[in-house]
Symmetry: C2
Subunit: 209 residues, 2 copies
Amino acid sequence: MAQRAGVPLSAVKYYQREGLLPAGARSAPNQVAYGEEHVRRVRLVRALLETGGLSVAATKDVIAALDAEAAPLARTFQVAQHAMGARRVQESAPSGAARARVEALAAARGWCVTSDNPGFEAAARALDGLRSIGFDPPQEYLDAYAAAAGTAAAADLQALSGRGERDAVAELMVVGTVLGDPLFAGLRRLAQQDATRDAFPAPARGGRR
Amino acid sequence: MAQRAGVPLSAVKYYQREGLLPAGARSAPNQVAYGEEHVRRVRLVRALLETGGLSVAATKDVIAALDAEAAPLARTFQVAQHAMGARRVQESAPSGAARARVEALAAARGWCVTSDNPGFEAAARALDGLRSIGFDPPQEYLDAYAAAAGTAAAADLQALSGRGERDAVAELMVVGTVLGDPLFAGLRRLAQQDATRDAFPAPARGGRR
């Protein structure tokens, strides 16, 4: 099964030990049969845990949400979002001022969101961090980030609409939410280097600045 | 000093033990004097290490880059980007196909970047993760993310241009790079909830769907 999923055997054993995989059907005393569903689950766990960097506990929560077949997809999504928010639990709460600023930003864009959306805390904490080094982001900075987030979220939803089956939609919801972050972060590094080149030219070898 | 920086004393002691802070000037047998520069450094370390989630080693690299006064800012930026890329070192290399796709995306946008930009690996790895669950992102999905990244990077550079002093620019470069990720991620969670609400309505309490 590890081979079929394209995942090292040691990783599959680890997932099993951590209770992240359903048991296979025992087909012979020394053999366990795994179906396509198992292979798919192994790939999902790998995407969340290794590529996405979720903790084992958060991955468990996300999988439980996916397995709650009766739950509406909006609920699956919420659980997944919270599991991801819990990635760094030791963090202190953001300041009230930063939180209020993110709330105002969401309201200005007409986003209809619940106050327990973990995005409020994540964004507010980032604002606190920027303020701590003396950078109080101007409104146009926040507007640009909010516009970027809106563009990405629209693409996320567009991608979901192309997946017919409920399980496939739910899987893409959670993996897309987790992996959209590093996808954006990677592309931002590239765009930054391009923009920085003009603003802060590196000393050219030929002496040109 | 901890009080002036707004950071718990235990945290300052930890930073000192880890070699993240310069030594203060010994002003009396039992007393060490810390200047404004120390306070500022404590805030910076906190922003990178706690809000940004960098490792101690990566934080050290970033600080060393900041302290290399003679280095051009573009170089400081590169070191900082790499330090952040090293956050999860155990990750395997992305597939050649995914890397080629990110390269094509950057080329299509006319981004002038070096092949060692860590953004290539981060974005390519995310693409591999998405493919592993059967989602091969269509071009419009990648274009949307690249556009979002371009918008954010332009705002980043705009913010830098407002900071006069070299140290302040360099600080914002690294902290902005680190904290722009969770800022965007938080805002994307909010935008997603708004978009999801229309596409996958949660069952309303009053029975309305």
